[in-house]
Symmetry: C2
Subunit: 178 residues, 2 copies
Amino acid sequence: MMTGTRDLLLDLAATRVQTRGYNGFSFNDLARDAGIKAASIHYHFPTKADLGQTLAERYRKGFAATIGAAGDGTPSDALGRFVAAFAATLDQGRMCLCGLMGAEVRDLPDSVAIEVAAFFTFCQQWLEAVFTRAKAGDAATSARHTMAALEGALMMAQVARDPRIFHDVAAEVRRAIG
Amino acid sequence: MMTGTRDLLLDLAATRVQTRGYNGFSFNDLARDAGIKAASIHYHFPTKADLGQTLAERYRKGFAATIGAAGDGTPSDALGRFVAAFAATLDQGRMCLCGLMGAEVRDLPDSVAIEVAAFFTFCQQWLEAVFTRAKAGDAATSARHTMAALEGALMMAQVARDPRIFHDVAAEVRRAIG
DNA sequence: TCGAATCTATCTATTACTAGGTAGAATCAA
DNA sequence: TTGATTCTACCTAGTAATAGATAGATTCGA
């Protein structure tokens, strides 16, 4: 109720991107989902790049809100929240929005690519803070390794249509902090 | 010389897919690369799905040839060869062909998706054999974790335009086997 | 002369995007 | 309070460009 068409479009576009990718959906697809005409989408988002950029920015902020502060709880708790956020995405049958767009990065408008990169920079810093607190090996390396494993596992689970592939890797990732 | 147009198309298409993805290139792009007309590509590959399927199959076989048998050398050697194959891809400024297509999997023709899945099945079995020999924890889990980290790191390095992200993770991955 | 390989020309569908218009709500000056 | 104006959110109808694909003619080497 009163959600507003703009937010509805953002929600529907996020679903599209997280399953088909930026190049895998059109304004026509989105219009059909939303029950309006394709041309009307341009009223809310002048270009597809504007939509993609807004999508990536919103995703980063939503993700940040979901996982909370890197300093909240024990390092193990924090890492658990991070992994859980990825698991929740998988449970919805989706890929990480920025993970999927990240794969397409060379084919993305610059404005979108920049916003995708910002998501990974945010995650790197967040995880680095957690691993620094945990004092377990090199924090920057652990952060990169964790992020890479989660993104890769999400993709592999999608290809094999088997969520257990992700959950198996996720359990291993959590083991990095006792 | 004498490479044959078909192989040339395969080489050029592989480059396209590994940078832009399956949905990120057209027969027109490919025709321009090869110096022939777009319609002529259909002589060699009736449909784009045929091309994509052939590409993924060829990639798996080439990858298998590059890394050799899982039983060759010490487990550490074998893992080193596996990681080196990914590093070589990165050095060419490319993504893993099946990693990129894997991200797009829901938007791929079935025949292509099946071949992409076969690549991951092959890698899983190969790595599992290596970790089984190394007797380091659960082999299946280690194999999944290794593969996920390498694929994710390749993507992240591409997004950040910083190969060190991959090499950092790669070093960590190799550490799994002394 | 046969057939492999490539061409020209065309098709249908779809892409992102634009132009111009409209119903209705909100705003605001007299 | 009224009437003029402007804004919001959508519409129809189109653009040029591109997509993958096809039919049939042409070229050319063995």
